[in-house]
């Protein structure tokens, strides 16, 4: 178990529900996330994992329930306000600034984090600190040589790495990662896992991943969703053995 284990929760959702018309993508989810923990969120396709993340980060509207960050209620706040409050995320379907270079992508994230009001009286290049932030993360995500490449022409796997980099730059207390390893080559995946481990130091991470080897290995606690609800949660070993999880998601082990 990593980080400072306090009893107080850093992120908490109470009976939240997200519905689209008659369809409920998330129902009645209540959970307390403890500071410093790395949570693995698993479940079948369409179980509502991404939607839960959307609800936490403000992209999906709640039809019921409340969300707290650091005991402050953030229900109804916009995504950027939550980012400012310390909630960062990556997306399952890559969201980058495709027409801009990789460096510019990162610099944007840095500037969004540094300035509440975006200055308009000085060229962006004159702000050394944000360039430094961007450079640092550029090497952290292993894209050193690619600073001047247009983000849109990166290969799929490299775009996934950039995706994480953008989330990191807002220096979040709570980091939500939606399938960061999808499409990342198996050789690089090990490095990526290391990266996740590293960035989870001192922060809370919620990780959605279908790669069971990774999830089981690095999670402090695992949450299983099914049909919009939390089916089970607990340590890796318990979850692995849970018959309900096996039939709904994992399948029989070879």
């Amino acid at each position: 178990m990593s980080g400072i284990a306090e009893n107080k929760s850093i992120l908490r959702c109470e009976e939240i529900e997200v519905s689209y018309g008659a369809f409920k993508a998330v129902t009645n989810v209540t959970y307390e996330f403890k500071p410093g923990f790395l949570y693995g969120l698993i479940g079948p396709n369409g179980a509502g994992k991404t939607t839960l993340m959307n609800a936490l980060s403000g992209r999906a509207q709640l039809s019921k329930g409340r969300v707290f960050l650091n005991d402050q209620e953030i229900t109804g706040q916009s995504p950027h306000a939550r980012t400012w409050a310390g909630l960062g995320r990556s997306f399952q379907i890559t969201q980058i600034f495709a027409e801009m270079t990789v460096f510019e992508n990162l610099r944007l994230a840095a500037q969004a984090h540094r300035f509440r009001l975006q200055p308009f009286w000085r060229p962006v290049g004159k702000f050394k600190e944000i360039a430094n932030d961007a450079e640092r993360v550029l090497s952290e995500i292993g894209l050193e040589g690619f600073g001047h490449v247009n983000a849109g022409s990166l290969s799929h796997g490299d775009q996934r790495a950039l995706e994480i980099g953008l989330a990191l730059l807002s220096e979040p207390k709570v980091l939500l990662l939606d399938e960061p390893l999808a499409g990342v080559g198996h050789d690089v995946a090990e490095k990526a896992v290391e990266l996740i481990r590293k960035v989870s130091q001192g922060r809370t991470v919620l990780l959605i991943e279908h790669n069971m080897d990774v999830v089981m290995e690095i999670s402090d606690e695992i949450i299983v969703m099914l049909a919009g609800e939390i089916l089970a949660s607990g340590e890796a070993e318990t979850i692995k053995r849970d018959p309900r999880v096996r039939t709904a998601y994992l399948g029989e082990e070879e």
Partner: protein
């Protein structure tokens, strides 16, 4: 030197024609180019940089023109404060528009701004006619009265306009490369991501919309004083259409492109119309051909030619 500088040079040449030929007949046209350029530069902040297609800028342009005219003619204000007020009112109206319009995006944004500005157009022509002079407008809009210079002389007025133009260009150039400009580009590129990294998207959009409303208000006021007249035609959506066309023709999202677009548009109007009575059709053909042949407008073409002439000259 790079393509940017080349464009700057072309712009500089076009706008300094009156300096080289002070007796020429081009001053009136260059003055109009300067004024429309201010409008287009400001418009491109919204259109080219932030990626919002507005069909409502005619409202800010026209309202600026009315503001200046009414304040100077009916309230006895001096020109400069009235011009400032034109900018303020243009910006304020843009801010009001943005509260309605920013809730939707893309084509819906374009049509909502269009509808809002048409409402103002209709108002000005009918219900507000006591104020606006109705369909026939108000004639006799004054020019500045400063330092004892006769600005009613187009040659002198040119310098006044040139100063404002340079100022407008500098401010817009700075905004583009500032963090604000970069943030706007980010929103254009990917709104979801921009919001997630912490940009207050709506506030940023509102602010750039307001800034360009100020540009539009000021340029509208200037146009009224250039032609001594203001009328509801300036509020009509086809005025918004004109500025869109100019910016597209010149190259959206570039600093100098919109100016080139304005220049071509105005020169075409002046020159072609003296050549043939079929100039509308020819202008149409030019639009069609340049859309097909110049994917990024004149600015793009210059960039492309530059790259061909100076291979490997990456900037």
């Amino acid at each position: 030197m790079n393509a940017q500088r080349l464009m700057a040079l072309i712009v500089a040449i076009v706008i300094s024609v009156p300096l080289m030929f002070p007796e020429g007949h081009s001053i009136g046209m260059v003055n109009a180019i300067l004024i429309w350029s201010i409008f287009a530069i400001g418009f491109d902040l919204v259109f080219g940089v932030a990626g919002m297609l507005s069909f409502g800028h005619a409202a800010f342009f026209g309202v600026g023109a009315y503001t200046l005219s009414l304040l100077t003619m009916r309230m006895g204000w001096d020109f400069l404060p009235a011009l400032g007020a034109a900018g303020v009112i243009g910006g304020a109206l843009a801010l009001v528009f943005s509260y309605f319009a920013i809730r939707v995006s893309g084509l819906f944004f374009a049509l909502l701004t269009l509808a809002l500005s048409q409402l103002i157009y209709i108002m000005a022509g009918t219900k507000l006619r006591m104020l606006t002079g109705g369909v026939d407008g108000i004639a006799g809009v004054p020019r500045p009265d400063l330092f004892g210079i006769d600005f009613y002389d187009d040659g002198n007025y040119y310098f006044f306009l040139l100063a404002l133009f340079v100022l407008a260009l500098l401010i817009s150039g700075l905004i583009r490369i500032s963090p604000l400009g970069q943030a706007l580009k980010a929103i254009k590129s990917n709104e979801v991501r921009a919001e997630q990294i912490g940009f207050n998207v709506q506030r940023l959009q509102r602010s750039v919309f307001t800034i360009s409303g100020i540009y539009a208000g000021v340029s509208g006021g200037l146009l009224a004083s250039l032609i001594f007249y203001v009328g509801p035609q300036m509020l009509h959506w086809s005025t918004s259409g004109d500025v869109v066309i100019m910016v597209l023709l010149g190259g959206m999202g570039t600093l100098f492109g919109p100016i080139l677009g304005v220049a071509i548009f105005e020169i075409m109007r002046e020159w072609l119309s003296t050549q043939t009575s079929h100039w509308y059709g020819i202008l149409g053909l030019i639009f069609i051909i340049s859309t097909i042949g110049m994917p990024k407008g004149i600015a793009g073409l210059i960039q492309q030619l530059w790259n061909r002439i100076m291979p490997g000259g990456k900037s």
